[in-house]
């Protein structure tokens, strides 16, 4: 299984390409070594042969056929020339002298180099020795052959050839084995990741890719994939939480509507009662629809990086408009709504969304603040960063609940029955995230203070 995967893996194919390239380079080097060694050895032998030939040729020129025959016989008798072969023949190729019994039938050239096998095996060897000789045809038609046994030279180059081929083959086998091992390791790690992926698809997000602790790139890949899985798991949990909450918050008005309609269906038609019923049902439906549009709006802000709509605006101007819009609501509540701070604080962002976020915070502050208390919106620039804070002097939020308030549908038990759907602060959080702004929740002693730190304005 693993071997099959190893052999089909792309790593292995890459290794094969590498081996192929490497093999060709090695072959080229070895061939060069072989060829240059062989030609060097042959050249040395040829030089010695040529010297001998020149001596014999000189003897023929000086003292004619008889002189040469005498020299050849002296040479044959001399043991130090044992490896040499000599042959002098007349124009009809009849042997005049030398240590070959007959003119070799394969040698037909008049002059130059020739290679041929001896007619009979040497006494100490089973094979017929290989000879290489220089040929000459004298003006009288006599033919001279001066050569030597190159069987040993030949077997030497053969040995080099064998060594080159076998070491090449060994290198190839070793490289192949090494690349299979390396590939197997790679494929093994990938298989682990694949196996975990399959397990996740089959059973759930609780699986993680095992780490080897080697801190290599595979461990880093596994680490990052595991982090991604953690993040997905968290998000899935949040989605489940939200859908549970949506189901809960939708079920309440829907149940109410259903009950109301069921009761009306069973009872007598009555104009006035029906009118009230339809009116109440419409109001409930509107609440449900409003919740839906809030959810989609938050989702839209969260998923789209709509930074192309970002402009530089005056935060104080936006805040003033919010304060003006909520002025009447505050007045009705007996709350004093004021705006303080710098007259101009530049901020880069989506004006409508920033308005929305501030409006939600002001709305919350008025709703959850103390009746007859005050809500203060303050704008300032701190270290070049635009900062807006919205503070009330109401009961505040227990410190332990601070981190929860931005969750969708989260509502403090105490405010479960005040109007609102628990989505306002999620929207604020989504807007803040889009703008790279940080939200701070502070104890206003008494009351609650939200502080938004926007990023320093661009341009």
């Amino acid at each position: 299984m693993l071997l099959a995967k190893t052999l089909t893996s792309s790593t292995f194919k890459l290794a094969l390409i590498a081996i192929g390239t490497f093999g060709m380079i090695v072959s080229a080097i070895f061939s060069y070594v072989y060829l240059s060694t062989a030609s060097y050895v042959r050249a040395r032998s040829d030089r010695a042969n040529m010297t001998e030939y020149l001596i014999l040729q000189g003897a023929y020129a000086r003292s004619g056929r008889e002189g040469l025959i005498a020299l050849i016989e002296r040479r044959i008798a001399d043991r130090s020339f044992a490896d040499n072969v000599y042959l002098l023949a007349d124009p009809s190729l009849a042997v005049l002298g030398g240590n070959l019994k007959a003119w070799p039938s394969t040698v037909t050239a008049a002059s130059g180099w020739a290679e041929f096998r001896a007619a009979q095996p040497s006494p100490d060897a089973t094979h017929r020795p290989l000879l290489r000789a220089m040929l000459e045809t004298f003006p009288g038609g006599d033919r001279l052959l001066v050569g030597r046994d190159i069987s040993e030279l030949d077997s030497f180059t053969e040995q080099i050839k064998a060594a080159v081929i076998s070491s090449g083959a060994l290198i190839f086998v070793l490289a192949a084995v090494a690349s299979i091992l390396v590939t197997r390791r790679t494929v093994g790690r990938i298989e682990q990741i694949n196996a975990t992926s399959r397990a996740i698809m089959q059973s759930g997000l609780d699986q993680r890719i095992p780490l080897r602790g080697s801190h290599d790139e595979w461990d880093r890949v596994a680490e990052n994939l595991n982090l991604m899985l953690d993040r997905i798991e968290t998000l899935m949990g949040e989605v489940k939480q939200v859908s549970d909450n949506v189901a809960h918050d939708l079920r309440t008005p829907l149940t109410r509507m259903r009950g109301r309609l069921e009761k009306a269906y069973d009872s007598q038609r009555s104009g006035e009662a029906d009118q009230t019923l339809i009116g109440d049902t419409l109001a409930d439906l509107d609440a449900v629809l409003r919740m839906f549009s809030s959810i989609t709006r938050i989702a839209q802000i969260e998923t789209q990086a709509r930074t192309d709509a970002f402009r530089t605006a005056n935060l104080v101007e936006i805040a003033s408009e919010v304060v003006e819009l909520y002025d009447a609501a505050a007045e009705q509540d007996g709350t004093r709504l004021t705006i303080v701070g710098d007259p101009e604080v530049k901020v880069t962002g989506d004006r409508d969304l920033i308005f929305d976020a501030i409006a939600n915070l002001v709305d919350n502050a008025i709703k959850h603040g103390r009746a007859g208390g005050q809500v203060v919106v303050a704008n300032e620039s701190i270290d070049g960063r635009p900062v807006i804070s919205i503070a009330d002097d109401g009961p505040g939020i227990p410190a332990g609940e601070h981190e929860h308030v931005f969750k969708r549908f989260y509502r403090l038990e105490a405010s479960r029955y005040t109007p609102g759907n628990g989505l306002g602060l999620s929207l604020v959080a989504a807007v803040a995230r889009l703008h790279g702004a940080r939200i701070e929740l502070l104890d206003n002693a008494p009351g609650l203070k939200f502080r938004l730190w926007f990023a320093a304005p661009s341009g």
Partner: protein, 230 residues
């Protein structure tokens, strides 16, 4: 209602929604033509002179925005109300930028639709260039930005004056909360609370408090109506 032709082209592909729209608009005294796809809308829109055209964004053949653009290119000047199930701000802006005059998100209440159609239809009537508008004993001066009833000045903040002006300009017609937010505050968002009601309540106290008769009336479930007693 006031003069002018009352012919509407409804572009809607869902038969049930189209049926409801036609029935309700006919009941409200409009003559309604229906187009069930973009091509039909282009044909009808160019052929007749409509007071208002409502276009659904999701049509089977051509996108509603493209239909509207084409109508504009063809020289159709009738105000267009875009109706869409896509409620995002981006879409609104895109719809309006492409030449739409107003935008309504599905699902909507019919009263809201009617209010907007009425407001759009009025636009195609001749606009009277008056500096003082009167409804009953209320007079508002558009130049000095002041209002008075029976000659007694009413003290209004600028935004309150804008709100009153919008109601007066639409006198006798229902104005929804969303329309107020859009036209008085230039906001395209949906406050979950009743701030608009509170705001109108304050203006109403100033305008109608201790007067012979009220001018601003609440229309349950939708918004407000300013009119003189009959």
């Amino acid at each position: 209602m006031t003069g002018g032709h009352r012919r509407i082209l409804v572009v809607e592909d869902d038969p049930e929604t189209a049926g409801q729209l036609m029935e309700q608009l006919t009941t409200s005294g409009y003559q309604v033509d229906l187009a069930t796809c973009g091509n039909e809308a282009l044909r009808r829109g160019a052929a007749s002179d409509y007071a208002v055209i409502t276009i659904d964004r999701m049509l089977p053949d051509i996108d509603g925005i493209a239909v509207m653009r084409q109508l504009r290119d063809d020289g159709v000047a009738a105000p267009v109300l875009i109706i869409s199930a896509l409620g995002e701000v981006d879409d609104r802006v895109r719809g309006l930028r492409a030449g739409g005059d107003d935008y309504l998100v599905k699902p909507f209440s019919f009263v809201e639709l009617l209010a907007r159609v009425e407001a759009l239809g009025r636009r195609s009537e001749t606009v009277v260039k008056e500096t003082i508008l009167r409804v009953g004993d209320l007079a508002i001066d558009l130049v000095s930005r002041t209002a008075s009833r029976r000659g007694r000045d009413i003290l209004l903040f600028p935004r309150e004056f804008q709100l009153l002006e919008y109601l007066v300009r639409n006198q006798g017609r229902i104005v929804s909360r969303a329309m107020l937010l859009q036209h008085v505050w230039d906001l395209h968002f949906d406050p979950s609370t009743n701030i608009i009601d509170v705001y109108v309540g304050r203006v109403r106290r100033k305008v109608d408090g201790q007067q012979a008769y009220p001018l601003i009336h609440t229309v349950r479930g939708i918004g407000y109506l300013l009119r003189a007693p009959r």
